[in-house]
């Protein structure tokens, strides 16, 4: 029950933050140059048509009222109207979301399954060659421009070696699988098209690696440093003095204590991945939300940009909440 009250407290704290987010997005939207009504109406519209449109959009009302109108719209799922695609931004988002989700999930799997073991090994074999190698790997990872990495990967694996495809989710000739989840890797298997599954897998490898490299580096560093600090604590000596084997000490006693910062960073990384996905999707022509927003920027489709910004930050906040809850499960000390 204490966990429930903890969750409730966190939720209550979040509400002003979420409101603040909407407010900030609203303010930025209104700093955008140009007249939204004119943009909607088109170049050739008459002044009268534009004024009518402006009135019907509520753009001649005082700002606070517009904000409330905006909030009311948000609650109903109205994120604005995309100028480029001439339909609600929400629909655009829903269309492009599965591709980004798939890429993010695969990247996360890579990050966690490589990063955590690498961090543990680095901590246990501290200052030996493998540790030095992984630290170099990490420094490069956090200093790497993601878009450049993508280009270099393309050069190597697509152009020079020809092992992997360079863009999209499937080869051009192939039709996408029947839509169940929107995640091609799952849908192709559900459909039984093994060939398409293989194709989709090949297509996702490079972007997933590119996207995950940075966060892999971060996770490795965090796991390593938190394991090292836990390994020096008294209760580890106690466990050793009781005859417990080193492997058990590392993987049970140390790791569970280290999981707390690790889970925190992993959770936050998911949010950051959404940001990094923007660049990765652009490089690999991955039809997700990231590429959508870059195309929108180039087209000056500001409602789409603002809609995207809002959705992404909301997701980020929710993920942080989820991380806090998991944190409470892992650390008995903070349930009070």
């Amino acid at each position: 029950m204490r966990i429930l009250s903890y969750i409730l407290k966190r939720l209550i704290y979040l509400i002003p933050v979420l409101l603040g987010v909407t407010l900030l997005v609203f303010i930025i939207s209104h700093a955008i140059p140009g007249d939204p009504a004119r943009m909607m109406a088109g170049q050739k519209a008459s002044r009268e048509a534009i004024d009518n449109l402006r009135h019907s959009m509520g753009l001649d009302r005082p700002l606070p009222e517009q904000y409330l109108q905006y909030l009311a719209g948000l609650v109903q799922g109205d994120l604005g109207f995309s100028i480029r695609n001439q339909r609600p931004v929400m629909e655009d988002m829903l269309d492009f979301f599965p591709a980004t989700l798939e890429l993010t999930l695969v990247s996360m799997v890579v990050c966690v399954s490589v990063g955590i073991p690498l961090g543990i090994i680095s901590a246990v074999r501290r200052n030996r060659p493998i540790d030095h190698a992984s630290r170099v790997f990490s420094v490069i990872g956090v200093s790497m421009p993601v878009f450049w990495l993508g280009l270099m990967l393309l050069l190597l694996f697509y152009r020079n070696l020809g092992w992997l495809p360079g863009s999209g989710r499937l080869d051009i000739g192939l039709d996408p699988p029947a839509h169940v989840t929107g995640l091609y890797l799952i849908d192709t298997l559900l459909e039984g098209s093994v060939g398409k599954f293989r194709n989709a897998l090949l297509h996702i490898l490079l972007p997933a690696f590119c996207l995950s490299y940075v966060y892999l580096a971060i996770i490795t560093r965090i796991v390593r440093s938190s394991m090292i600090s836990v390994m020096g604590l008294d209760f580890i000596t106690t466990a050793r003095a009781n005859g417990i084997a080193e492997t058990v000490i590392t993987l049970k006693h140390c790791l569970k204590n280290s999981l707390i910062p690790t889970v925190t960073i992993t959770g936050l990384s998911i949010g950051e991945l959404l940001g990094g996905a923007i660049l990765t999707e652009t490089i690999f022509n991955w039809p997700g939300m990231g590429k959508y927003v870059v195309d929108s920027v180039n087209f000056l489709d500001f409602p789409a940009l603002m809609g995207f910004t809002l959705v992404v930050s909301f997701t980020y906040v929710m993920i942080n909440l989820a991380v806090d809850v998991i944190y409470a499960f892992l650390d008995p000390q903070i349930r009070y």
Partner: protein, 333 residues
């Protein structure tokens, strides 16, 4: 004379650091008989903890290493055992409890989980039996509501309760020797008395020998059968508790006891031992205490004193207690 339970012979431990090699222990020899409580006293930094940890080979290498000597436990030299054999002894035949109850237990596992882990490791029993053993041990250390305690996390218990949990955990596999490194120093005085009483009771009852490390001479006087005094990485005097406190022979021991302020003495000023504890990177030649000793003479800055035995069972590492012939040969040279 039966074989001692633990016999340490000439133990030397060094730590390799940037500033130099720290000679933490040198020429340390000690015996613990079955069932006895041996007190190990000395100032902070004299090597008491290092000694205790060396017995269980808990010294981290790097930077520390056992460079000489033997540690005989039931006749076997612990230094020569493989890591696996050593693990079978830890928590099982020799156990250790530490000073800081606040941090000695893993905060993310329940007390029950940690205790049962140790029991299950060393004894071939099922889960229910292991649990029963743990509840039984908690009862023996007078924990209220033992079944509930097993489900609690360490931070839900007070310092005294945590230390009792430690005692229960370490004695659960029926070891023959318990190393207690300042177990009550971090506790409040009233809690201290409680925990000590429990510790004494349970170890006497089970015939567990205890190496009781402390810098609190009062506690040691009450609890211990015999006492060993350490200074700057070496043992300077061992005797029965009565002998040490009534008739201390080493100048350092004398200084220690004199430094304790007593109400019935009428003295105005506190007695201190002049000088400071020496650096262990570059310790004094000969007897490590000689620079601070008011009784030093010819051999003291040249030859490290061996153990002389001025009366049976009472050993002193001090040249003052050398034989007359020996002293005469020194004064002539």
């Amino acid at each position: 004379m039966s074989e001692p339970l633990l016999e340490i012979r000439n133990l030397a431990v060094q730590f390799f650091t940037y500033q130099g090699t720290v000679r933490a222990l040198e020429g340390v020899s000690l015996r613990v008989e079955r069932g006895e409580i041996l007190g190990l006293v000395g100032e902070t930094g004299c090597g008491k903890s290092v000694l205790a940890r060396s017995v269980l080979r808990l010294i981290a290498d790097p930077p520390g290493r056992i460079t000489d000597g033997e540690i005989l436990f039931k006749g076997r030299d612990l230094i020569k055992l493989s890591r696996r054999e050593m693990r079978r002894i830890r928590g099982n035949e020799i156990s250790m409890i530490f000073q800081e109850p606040m941090s000695s237990l893993n905060p993310v596992f329940t007390v029950g989980n940690q205790m049962q882990e140790v029991v299950a490791l060393h004894q071939a029993v099922g889960r229910d039996e292991a649990r029963r053993i743990c509840v039984d041990m908690l009862r023996q250390v007078k924990m209220p509501d033992p079944d509930q305690v097993l489900l609690k996390y360490p931070h839900e218990l007070s310092g005294g309760m945590r230390q009792r949990v430690m005692i229960a955990m370490e004695l659960s596999c029926r070891p023959d020797l318990l190393l207690a490194d300042e177990p009550t120093t971090a506790l409040d005085v009233t809690v201290q008395a409680q925990v000590l009483a429990i510790l004494e009771g349970i170890t006497r009852q089970r015939g567990v020998a205890v190496l009781f490390i402390s810098h609190d001479l009062g506690v040691v006087a009450q609890l211990c059968d015999r006492v060993a005094v350490m200074y700057a990485g070496g043992i300077v005097e061992t005797a029965t508790a009565a002998a040490i406190f009534a008739a201390p022979r080493h100048p350092y021991t004398r200084g220690l006891l004199q430094a304790i302020p007593r109400i019935d003495e009428g003295r105005e000023a506190l007695m201190v031992i002049p000088g400071t504890v020496p650096s262990l990177i570059d310790p004094p030649r000969g007897c490590r205490f000689h620079p601070r000793c008011g009784h030093r003479f010819q051999p003291c800055d040249r030859e490290p004193p061996p153990f002389y035995e001025p009366s049976p069972g009472h050993r002193v590492a001090c040249h003052l207690h050398a034989g007359e012939d020996q002293k005469r040969s020194w004064s002539r040279s």
